[in-house]
């Protein structure tokens, strides 16, 4: 078995090298899904979700995120492959598997005429749990829905409906929670609340898998990040490692006097001139090329190129993400 101490250089899928060594709560093996239309939405997906982590699944529209979640939760039939949830096969042992999982779907599919209280109690019953008003009350209070408990769902705003769906998913005390774009169409305050709630849930041992289009969200919340593109998992990595490994850093220099061209002796550096030659930007790999920053500054001094200001900038996950899912140029 591979040592877990050294991380292999940037590679496409690292889930197996790590996944085998840690306690995974969801284990997806060679999963494919071909829809009736003939469209292959998942291509041999392998993924291990670790117990107790917050896992963010990123990917552009149509990448297969919802399909993947659907297979695990039982709303989509897999074409081939296997999924284990807490050790239970999601098909052969669906009762045990599903009773551990809560799903908040991407679409705002709610009842209309039922009250918030009734619909949440319904969910609990559906998942085979006896009535527990105290738990439902706790969930509704945490989601600021307690005042709305007697309201019909159709009278609620979109953000409240989203919270009702979360309450339904939490009604049966799941160990695994899937949040498919929980913050789509949710205002800033509510998004904060939701992040807070997700972290609090994790504190209680719940494993959370969320999809999002807000990279900021993944950056803030996730322990690990997976990127899916065109039905393939292209990357699974610790967020911190990912930032470290993939993160480009930029050194931005405001020059004393503008340059017309970059001196040929600096060809080894990835440099760009902007602001009519008044600004020089050096792009380098944060982890591997840290030393180059010093040598560049030294070389500039040798050439007599002075600067008035200097700043560095680290690339965000968003940039990493875009560079991954863009077709290779």
């Amino acid at each position: 078995m591979q040592s877990s101490e050294h991380f292999p250089e940037l590679q496409t899928v690292t889930s197996d090298s790590l996944g085998a060594l840690v306690d995974s709560i969801i284990s997806v093996k060679n999963l494919t899904k071909t829809y009736a239309s003939g469209f292959q939405a998942l291509k041999n997906v392998n993924l291990e979700i670790r117990r107790g982590e917050i896992f963010a699944l990123l990917g552009p529209n149509g990448a297969g995120k919802t399909t993947l979640i659907g297979v695990v939760c039982g709303t989509v039939n897999p074409s081939s492959g296997a999924v284990l949830a807490d050790g239970h096969d999601i098909i052969a042992d669906y009762r045990a598997a599903r009773s551990k999982i809560g799903l908040v779907p991407q679409e705002l599919s709610t009842d209309m005429f039922e009250t918030v209280w009734d619909t949440v109690c319904f969910s609990r019953g559906l998942f085979g749990k006896p009535k527990n008003s105290a738990h439902i009350e706790k969930v509704l209070r945490e989601l600021s829905l307690w005042d709305k408990r007697a309201s019909k769902i159709m009278t609620l705003s979109g953000g409240m409906k989203r919270r009702v769906l979360i309450a339904k998913a939490l009604s049966h005390e799941p160990q695994i929670l899937f949040l498919d774009e929980p913050t789509a169409g949710v205002d800033v305050d509510l998004r904060r609340d939701m992040w807070h709630m997700v972290r609090a849930l994790r504190e209680t041992g719940v494993t959370i898998i969320l999809t999002t289009h807000y990279i900021e969200e993944a950056e803030q919340m996730a322990d690990r990040i997976g990127v899916i593109n065109k039905g393939e998992i292209v990357l699974v990595e610790e967020k911190s490692v990912l930032m470290e490994k993939l993160g480009k850093k930029e050194l931005i220099l405001q020059l004393e006097s503008p340059l017309k061209v970059i001196p040929p002796s600096l060809a080894q550096y990835e440099l760009a001139l902007s602001k009519e030659g008044a600004q020089l930007t050096f792009t380098f790999h944060a982890a591997r090329e840290r030393a180059k920053m010093a040598t560049l500054l030294h070389d500039l001094a040798e050439l007599g190129i002075g600067f008035t200001d200097l700043q560095t900038r680290e690339s965000s996950l968003e940039e990493i993400f875009v560079s991954l899912v863009r077709p290779q140029s």
């Binding site: 829809y35 039939n77 009762r95 779907p105 599919s109 709610t110 009842d111 005429f113 559906l126 339904k168």
Partner: protein, 253 residues
């Protein structure tokens, strides 16, 4: 067995019924009353008794069956179609619940509602006609079996339908003609011999005949055959519903 889940679906569906009590109960009661006024009193007064039973009394079992069939089908088909249409079905699909339990919840609720409705219609009929019930046990047995069978049939239609048109197509094009031609308003013995034979392919004939037998002790086909055919149709619907759910038909992509 996930009893909590069955109860959850059942109560959810029953709650829907109570919420729409006026349409659920009043509608069929009013339309049945109209049938009695028109067929029972107005036209019936000019009709001769059939097998010693006044025409108004004769049509009661048939009319009750007519409502029972229509309501069972529309309730059950709507019950499963709506969550499919609104998307809330995701929750049932992701729940630790077997196909049989899904059927028990949805069909059980639709059938319960039909049974209540059938009883209410019979009570309403009492206002118009002084009928008697010769075999109350068998009357109830036919009522319950028919409610279950056609709720299941409606459930299948609700699974199959991928639009509101389809939801209404089968009841309109198949069920209504079959009930009207199934002897609701006449004894099939009144038909020419050829049509009597054709009629025997209509499952509704057996339901109405058996049901009428439980009232007046006389029937078009023997009550044993009626009961057997009812059970066969029930088994058939169960098989189809199970197969549809197992394949995830129109529910799972």
């Amino acid at each position: 067995m996930n009893g909590h889940a069955i109860r959850a679906i059942y109560s959810f569906e029953m709650a829907r019924t109570w919420r729409t009590l006026s349409q659920s109960i009043a509608g069929p009661v009013i339309s049945t009353s109209l049938y009695f006024v028109v067929f029972g009193s107005a036209i019936g007064s000019r009709m001769t008794a059939i097998g010693g039973v006044s025409y108004a009394a004769f049509i009661i079992p048939g009319l009750t069956m007519l409502s029972l069939l229509n309501e069972s089908i529309s309730n059950a088909s709507f019950g499963i179609y709506m969550p499919k249409f609104s998307g809330t079905i995701y929750e049932v699909l992701s729940a630790p619940i077997s196909y049989l339990e899904i059927v028990l919840g949805y069909v059980g609720a639709a059938a319960s509602k039909s049974i209540v409705l059938g009883t209410v219609i019979l009570l309403t009929a009492r206002v118009f006609v002084d009928y008697h019930i010769a075999h109350p046990f068998w009357m109830f047995a036919f009522l319950v079996l028919t409610a279950i069978t056609f709720s299941l049939f409606g459930f299948i239609i609700g699974l199959w339908a991928d639009g509101f048109q389809k939801l209404q197509l089968v009841p309109m094009l198949i069920v209504t003609p079959l009930t009207f031609l199934g002897g609701s308003f006449y004894s099939i013995k009144m038909l020419p011999p050829f049509w009597q034979h054709v009629t025997l392919f209509n499952p509704v004939v057996y339901l109405i005949s058996g049901f009428r037998w439980s009232f007046y002790g006389a029937s078009d086909v023997s009550v044993g055959v009626s009961m057997t055919m009812t059970l066969v149709f029930l088994a058939l619907c169960l098989g189809v519903a199970r197969w549809l759910l197992k394949s995830g038909y129109h529910l799972k992509a």
